[in-house]
């Protein structure tokens, strides 16, 4: 790697470290000698475990990032935020009356939103977080679902919100309600569940169960990937 030649200085919890330019924050922190016990998972921007907050030298902005997805820059003051305390309400999705103002019933604090836009500014997925909280206040499950679909639950918005809202839990409830009560039931899924129940795949399962790990690995690599027939994709 040519970037290895150029070194930059980053500050991890206040202490300076020289690391090669070109690494992600996560790799830079590891290069500096830290080992992740929490706060790292997929290393590919999907799991939301590596929430990070930082400031850059001379910049008043308090910034947020996913450590595995963001390149470390010279003069970054970094801290990991491996966990954001947030209450998740208990509910049984079967017993919910979606016609009621459910999101406000479980999470009344959404009504405290002051429209400061801090959540949107802090989302590493670049979601319109404020807009989906606003839609949640109006009980618009569909809009919350589509605006929050790519949320990876890193919790950065929740850590920053002055109204103490737990955005990702609200959005998850909205998506569950939308999925259960409003989005059309995927036909291919129904069909496949029927086939499984009728025992269409029983023989195949038995065959797989008897395979060794090595055989399984080979079979996995060689597997055929099914195409989703057109017109049966989920809405949005």
């Amino acid at each position: 790697m040519e970037g290895n030649k150029k070194m930059i200085t980053i500050y991890i919890m206040g202490k300076a470290y020289k690391v090669p330019f070109g690494l992600t924050i996560m790799k830079a922190v590891e290069y500096a000698g830290y080992r992740f016990i929490r706060g790292a998972g997929c290393r590919a921007g999907f799991c939301g475990a590596c929430a990070t907050v930082y400031r850059k030298k001379g910049d008043y902005k308090f910034r947020t990032a996913l450590a595995c997805q963001t390149t470390a820059e010279d003069g970054m003051y970094l801290a990991q935020l491996p966990f954001v305390p947030a209450n998740r309400e208990e509910y049984n999705i079967e017993n919910i009356d979606p016609d009621k103002n459910v999101l406000s019933e479980y999470y009344p604090e959404i009504n405290r939103c002051v429209s400061c836009n801090t959540c949107t500014k802090s989302c590493p997925q670049e979601l319109d977080v404020m807009d989906f909280i606003q839609a949640a206040i109006r009980g618009d499950y569909k809009k919350v679902s589509s605006l929050s679909f790519d949320c990876i639950q890193c919790g950065l918005c929740t850590a920053r919100c002055p109204a103490e809202i737990t955005h990702y839990h609200v959005a998850q409830l909205a998506r569950r309600i939308y999925g259960k009560y409003y989005s059309p039931i995927p036909k291919h899924l129904e069909k496949r569940v029927g086939e499984i129940k009728k025992g269409k795949f029983d023989k195949e399962i038995e065959r797989l169960k008897k395979m060794s790990v090595d055989e399984l690995k080979k079979a996995y690599v060689k597997r055929k990937i099914e195409r989703i027939p057109r017109g049966e994709v989920r809405e949005e």
């Binding site: 939103c113 002051v114 429209s115 807009d131 606003q134 206040i137 009980g139 618009d140």
Partner: protein, 305 residues
Amino acid sequence: MKLPYFPGCTLKQTAKNFEKSAMASARRIGIELVELPRWNCCGAVSSLTSDDIMHHVAPIRDLVRVQQMNDDGILNNEYRLVVLCSMCFNVLKRSNMLVTKDAETLNKINEFMDTEPDYEGTVEVKHFLEILRDEIGFDKIKEKIKKPLHGLKVSPYYGCTLLRPREIGIDDPEAPTIMDDFIKSLEATPVDNPYKSLCCGSYHTVGNAEVVAHRTYKIIEGARRNGADVIITSCPLCAFNLDNRQELTKKLHPDFEYMPILYFTQLMALAFGEEKEAGFDENFVNPVPLLEEKKLLKKVVSRGE
């Protein structure tokens, strides 16, 4: 006339009939209400402490949207923002007034909203009733109605936020007439109520519904004593308190009798022959039997019970 329009959260939720009936009525008098393409909750109540600027951000962000609609060519030099909900109207107008008088506060808010264009103080916040009175004229409305509401006795309920404080209100806070004139334009009979601008208890409905129910009793009985059949309002919170809280009111005051509570726009839709858009089935106390008795609605055999 194409005017930008701010609905507010509740009109998308428990007060859909308010919006629907207003849209239908507006069309009949040549007004197209264009909803802001993106908007946020105004906060419902104004920030009242001198150092609290944060809570003015939400309403000002909404006013920026009106500017953007003009910049994007959705509107042509139209800065009158129409609001239906009295509380939203009050909050938006109040914050607007604050920042147009106080350049320093406006500057702070603009600096804070670093993802938005600056608000330039150009928007004028108008309640829909003001548009009816000042732009269309109640006499014009009278000419245009299809079904005069003869024989219907209507008590206006102004509540708080349409009238107070004085510099925000759309009429004399002590002797308002705008709703009375509106009722007359539909050829219904306005009925006075000594409690027409008595607070319904507002947000005390959360956590202290009894306080509200006692006021609901007073307000509705005040209208009934003067012979009213129905009360009209322009506020979804007043509507919730006067309409949905009647059940509790009856519990606390056994002599109480139910009375339908309508948004003023529902009455208007009815007079324009747009009863399908009036959304009477969404009211808590069903107004349909009364309107049928008054021969303002045709009797339908089954209401889909």
